[in-house]
């Protein structure tokens, strides 16, 4: 008379980890998944390296050197030099700052906004739901880049306005997913059973339904990061993002793709940087999800 006859569908959940402190969860995750631990190390390393760049990088990221235009990768220039003879590796390290910020800040904002609105929409239903979802429809009806440009322009350009613009375009998709999940969860008997012991509605929403959405939230988050990084490059290209000469990974891919046949390392290096960063976040996301998932604790 014990374990295992669970065929529960859907909601593999989270919020678990008894005594669930963040530090405790982190330790548990690092124990359970070497890949997640390694990914976390990579992410920390990239962030630290880029912010400490002025302390140790020998080159100025923005100083051109015409004699070294299109220099191939070598011992002195690890990733070669670009069309103006600037050291590509230096620009990559400096560019990480903007790209990581763009990858994380607007994504977090849009996930938080989308989760909050989706949760309320799905849980409250009725008019609230109708209103929020029509708002989401409006946002989704426009090409996201165009909308982001409009918002970014309206707010006067610059990094902060890009954050706001990308968050504004991003929340709707998240809200839809979380709303759908909430609507299915709120029909579950455990919600009824929570009500029957006198749990108040707001607590049911935040403490019983939200934790069951965490796997979805993590997946949305990891999927949105590369999108935000690439969107930023498009915005920069169109002149409302990070403006030259400051470097960002997305902008570098965008700019050097014209040289893809002749000097492939120029676009490949920032491309690889994005790939590594995004992969690390995906593995970390998987690790976090598995740690929070009670079904994994058998």
């Amino acid at each position: 008379m014990s374990d295992m006859n669970a065929e529960e569908t859907g909601s593999a959940g989270a919020g678990a980890g008894e005594g669930g402190t963040t530090a405790g969860l982190l330790a548990e995750m690092l124990r359970n998944s070497r890949l997640a631990a390694f990914s976390l190390a990579v992410i920390i390393f990239i962030i630290a390296a880029s912010f400490a760049a002025p302390l140790y990088m020998p080159y100025d990221p923005n100083k051109p050197s015409l004699s070294e235009r299109f220099a191939p990768p070598s011992a002195s220039h690890w990733a070669g030099c670009d069309d103006l003879g600037r050291d590509q590796f230096t620009r990559l390290v400096y560019g990480a700052r903007i790209s990581i910020m763009i990858g994380l800040v607007p994504t977090s904002l849009s996930i938080i906004l989308g989760t909050a609105l989706g949760l309320v929409s799905g849980f409250a239903g009725g008019r609230t739901d109708f209103f929020i979802m029509r708002l989401a429809d409006v946002v989704l009806a426009f090409p996201s880049l165009l909308l982001a440009m409009v918002v970014s322009y309206t707010l006067g350009g610059g990094v902060t306005s890009i954050f706001a613009a990308l968050a504004f375009v991003g929340w709707a998709a998240t809200a839809r997913v979380i709303r759908a999940q909430t609507m299915s969860l709120k029909e579950k008997e455990f919600v009824e059973s929570a009500r029957s012991v006198g749990v108040r509605e707001s607590v049911i929403m935040l403490r019983h339904i939200l934790p069951n959405c965490i796997p979805n939230i993590i997946v949305l988050f990891t999927l949105n990061i590369p999108e935000a990084i690439l969107n930023e490059s498009a915005l920069s290209f169109l002149g409302v993002g990070a403006s030259p000469p400051s470097a960002s990974w997305g902008l570098m891919v965008y700019r050097y793709k014209t040289y893809l046949m002749s000097y492939p390392w120029l676009a490949a290096a920032p491309g690889a940087a994005i790939l590594i960063f995004v992969l690390a976040f995906n593995f970390l996301g998987d690790g976090v999800r598995d740690t929070l998932d009670p079904y994994m604790k058998d």
Binding site: S2, S11, A12, G15, E192, R195, V197, N212
Partner: protein
């Protein structure tokens, strides 16, 4: 049965209707029901006859488009329908609790079993975390969960169906409510586990003096545990009697049908009797007696006028024209 004291729960002329686009469905229609102190009262009927809605009406958890339209529900003399939502929340879980049919889905998959029972206790205040924890473990032991300390930390999916239902019972009992509503608590369980759970509920009922409202479609469960029984059909009570009286002197053709459809060992006839047809749609109820289209004793007047409740013996009432005379063959 309507004794002078307030008993645990008294429902009078309760009607709960669902206002759907296609019309009004009277899921509970003028139901009067009494649960004396320290007793187990069964509410029996097929799916869709209004048993669960009656239970949810007591907790005031009927969800839209359903609404209690009239009647009264009183718990130990207090009118529950007059309570504010906040007062109602305090009553749920502490004075009335409920256990559900599906032990698989009625526990939140992301929290440990112990934590959920603790939450139920801490909502109603008066206990710190440590005390709540101790009392939960104690309650786990009381409901017969082996290794309660370990099960406290188990997630729902790590427990078997029987154990989960015991956790649910622990959650329902932890605040020592005066009434526990059990909505088909054993339907999803194996028969062997079913007997254990029923036994446990009876035992807890005797230990803690809690009354139980047992909702079921299974006459076997009724025979096992109930003191008094209400039989519901299409939103109305059609027969009510003490459990022995009901089995020995069944009057209503519907109750006879329910009893006839239990498989019995060594029954003289080889065939299992069903009731022909299905429960009518609440949006399109037959005229007159609601059971008349399915009834083998229906006369013409049955589909013209609706029968009242007739008292055929002390504490035994039946809603059928054929029973009004006090003998089985009577007519109106």
């Amino acid at each position: 049965m309507d004794t002078a004291d307030n008993g645990t729960l008294s429902i009078k002329n309760l009607s709960t209707h669902f206002f759907t686009r296609r019309g009004i469905a009277a899921a509970v229609d003028d139901v009067t029901l009494f649960i004396p102190k320290k007793s187990v009262v069964g509410v029996v009927g097929e799916s869709g006859c209004g048993k669960s809605v009656t239970a949810l009406s007591v907790l005031r958890l009927v969800s839209r488009p359903g609404r209690i339209v009239s009647g009264s529900v009183s718990l130990g003399g207090e009118d529950l329908l007059a309570k504010s939502p906040a007062e109602m929340r305090q009553i749920r879980g502490s004075r009335i609790s409920m256990i559900f049919q599906e032990p698989m889905t009625s526990l939140n998959p992301v929290y440990t079993a112990g934590r959920q029972v603790m939450e139920a206790m801490m909502i109603h205040g008066g206990t710190g975390k440590a005390e709540a924890r101790d009392r939960t473990v104690e309650m786990f032991r009381a409901v017969g969960i082996p290794e309660p300390e370990r099960r406290f930390r188990a997630f729902p999916h790590q427990l078997s169906g029987g154990l989960r239902q015991r956790v649910m019972i622990a959650m329902a009992m932890v605040c020592r409510p005066s009434l526990m509503i059990a909505d088909e608590p054993t339907t999803a369980l194996d028969v062997t586990i079913e007997a254990q759970i029923l036994h446990l509920m009876k035992e807890l009922q005797e230990t803690f003096g809690t009354s139980i409202m047992m909702i079921t479609h299974n006459m076997g469960v009724v025979a096992e545990i109930c003191d008094y029984v209400y039989v519901m059909y299409a939103g109305k009570i059609v027969e009510q009697a003490g459990v022995f009286e009901l089995f020995d002197d069944t009057r209503h053709p519907y109750t006879l049908g329910l009893l006839g459809s239990i498989p019995r060992h060594g029954s003289p006839k080889g065939r299992l009797l069903g009731i022909p047809g299905t429960v009518p749609s609440l949006l399109d109820l037959p005229k007159g007696c609601r059971f008349s289209p399915r009834c083998d004793r229906a006369e013409r007047y049955c589909s013209e006028r609706e029968p009242e409740m007739y008292e055929v013996a002390p504490g035994h009432k039946v809603r059928c024209f054929h029973c009004s005379g006090g003998s089985k063959g009577g007519s109106p």
